[in-house]
Amino acid sequence: MPRAFVYGDNVDTDVIIPARYLALSAPAFLREHCMEDIDPQFSKKVREGDFVAAGVNFGCGSSREHAPLALKACGVRAVIAVSFARIFYRNAVNIGLTIAECPHDIRDGDELELLPEKGEIYNKTSGKVYRTAPFPPFIARVIDKGGLMCALK
């Protein structure tokens, strides 16, 4: 079952993918080093469809698009955070990594299900439902098209 990897507030892009790995942007390479400075086991444990959940200001710091690319390469279904740093937010939208902004009390290992059509996340472990604010139409269109470059074509 898809489960959650939970981190705290202010998870910065330097820990999502350290700069020493920025000389390559191949997904398989980024995947291998994703989150390694705060959770060396992450890339080994994460499975396709799993979730990352965090507190406020997720993705703060550097503008490196390698950060959402690394999470996407890990097969992360969605990043759920109380709030996102603005560059990470737009990078995720632009490359087609699903993000959900909402208050939550997800705990490490909780089983989650994303219900995008309802704008909800169902926590099977606790039985709770978290509601996300709908995306504005422009952003929703970019997401539907699979990213900004597809939307521009």
Partner: protein, 420 residues
């Protein structure tokens, strides 16, 4: 409207914009570097585009892992170079023509008040010191701007930052920046503009303003915009020949909050690991020995920063066991530091002088830290692993505090070293 909102409205072809409104705006300049541009170039071609929309509105600066630190970095540079040549980009800079992007672009007049500049680098917000709307974006945004000349934006609300008084000796723009980040917190200005002004502005040099605007992103801000005054005009005079139009906030502009800063009350600060918001007075940081000091970066690699550091280093030596790395941010800064004798002072003090590069700031090269090492740095981030090993530590400070700490061998208030 705020000044930022007026710049955005003009570039979106709208009479009016409201906070939260999503707009599509034209960019006067789109910037990439050797890490972010290659991703954008791949996206550009993968989406089927062949020619950039306007070769004069794109800047690519090779500065992060340059001079190429390894084969992979060399490949990234090669990709940028080939793209710039094929697309006949007007503004491609490397080697002796380059420098740290956020010092270089204003220096060579690519930034003017009222312009809208996007950069695939989070510290693009630096150019707000010159009255431009400038913000960090991602590589895909850069690809879109190269293809279509446009960017999507959410109109920000703003926090007004009012400076009063004059800074005392050894207090730099960096101390104001660290104070602001500590006061607002790392997400205190999320999605917002910081708009800087007030009677204390006349005591802040352009170099101080670049430092302060640069660190706007460390409290989550979209951009940091300074009022344009005589100091700005003097800076622009020899640099920008094209017409430009500064924007000032309307008299009834709405701000979410106002932050008053009495510059005369500031003290030299240091931000403790692992957050730029953890500023404490350097005098009260405790007994923190250091292994390295770095003076440079897009935050503090300008001539004024070099000058401030030499005032401390003159006639003194770095403490035994402390490696001091000086990085003038551009060739022009390097040359001026050489002509004015600053490089001699650094060399006499036992410092090593690096060519312009972002290098150690992001743990790239030219001063990466080993396990357990501590560095006082004039850079902008002290996150886990930022300058090297995940168990190393970075203490953020001004050039004055970094130089004084290098001499003392431990975090030190310059006044304690030099006398009040």
């Amino acid at each position: 409207m705020t000044a930022t909102q007026k710049i955005l409205a003009r570039h979106a072809g709208l009479g009016n914009v409201r906070p939260g409104e999503l707009i599509t705006a034209y960019a006067d300049l789109a910037l990439g570097n050797d890490i972010t541009a290659p991703v954008a170039i791949d996206e550009f071609y993968a989406a089927g585009f062949e020619r950039v929309r306007d070769r004069e509105k794109i800047a690519i600066v090779l500065d992060h892992f340059t001079p190429a630190k390894d084969i992979k970095a060399a490949q990234l540079c090669k990709k940028c170079r080939a793209f710039a040549a094929k697309q006949e980009l007007t503004h491609f800079y490397e080697a002796g023509e380059a420098g740290i992007e956020h010092a270089l672009l204003p220096e060579i007049g690519l930034v003017a008040p009222g312009e809208l500049i996007i950069g695939a680098d989070s510290h693009t917000c630096t150019y707000g010191a010159a009255g431009a709307f400038a913000a960090g974006f991602g590589s895909t945004d850069l690809a879109a701007a190269m293809a279509k000349g446009i960017v999507w934006l959410k109109t920000p609300s703003a926090i007004r930052v009012v400076f009063r008084g004059a800074p005392p000796r050894f207090v730099c723009g960096k101390d104001a920046a660290l104070h602001i980040v500590a006061a607002l917190g790392t997400d205190g200005a999320l999605y917002k503009s910081l708009e800087f002004g007030g009677p204390g502005l006349r005591h802040l040099s352009m170099d101080d303003r670049f430092t302060i605007a640069n660190m706007s992103v460390e409290c989550g801000a979209k951009n940091g915009l300074f009022d344009v005054d005589d100091t700005t005009l003097a800076y622009l005079a020899d640099r920008v020949k094209r017409p430009w139009q500064a924007e000032t906030a309307d008299g009834d502009a709405q701000y979410d909050a106002t932050l008053d800063i009495d510059l005369s009350a500031l003290r030299p600060l240091v931000a403790l690991p692992f957050s730029p918001a953890k500023a404490v007075p350097a005098a009260r940081a405790g007994d923190i020995s250091i292994d390295q000091a770095v003076i440079g970066s897009c935050t503090n690699g300008r001539y004024g920063d070099m000058l401030a550091a030499t005032e401390i280093f003159k006639g003194r030596k770095a403490a035994k066991g402390v490696r001091v790395i000086i990085i003038p941010a551009t060739a022009a800064i390097y040359r001026k530091a050489m002509r004015e004798g600053l490089l001699d002072i650094f060399l006499d003090a036992g410092c090593v002088i690096s060519p312009p590069t972002c290098g150690p700031c992001l743990g790239g090269h030219m001063g990466v830290l080993a396990e357990g090492e501590r560095c006082v740095a004039t850079t902008n981030r002290n996150f886990v692993g930022r300058m090297g090993h995940p168990k190393s530590e970075v203490y953020l400070a001004s050039p004055c505090v970094a130089a004084a700490s290098a001499v003392a061998g431990r975090i030190c208030d310059p006044a304690a070293l030099m006398g009040g």
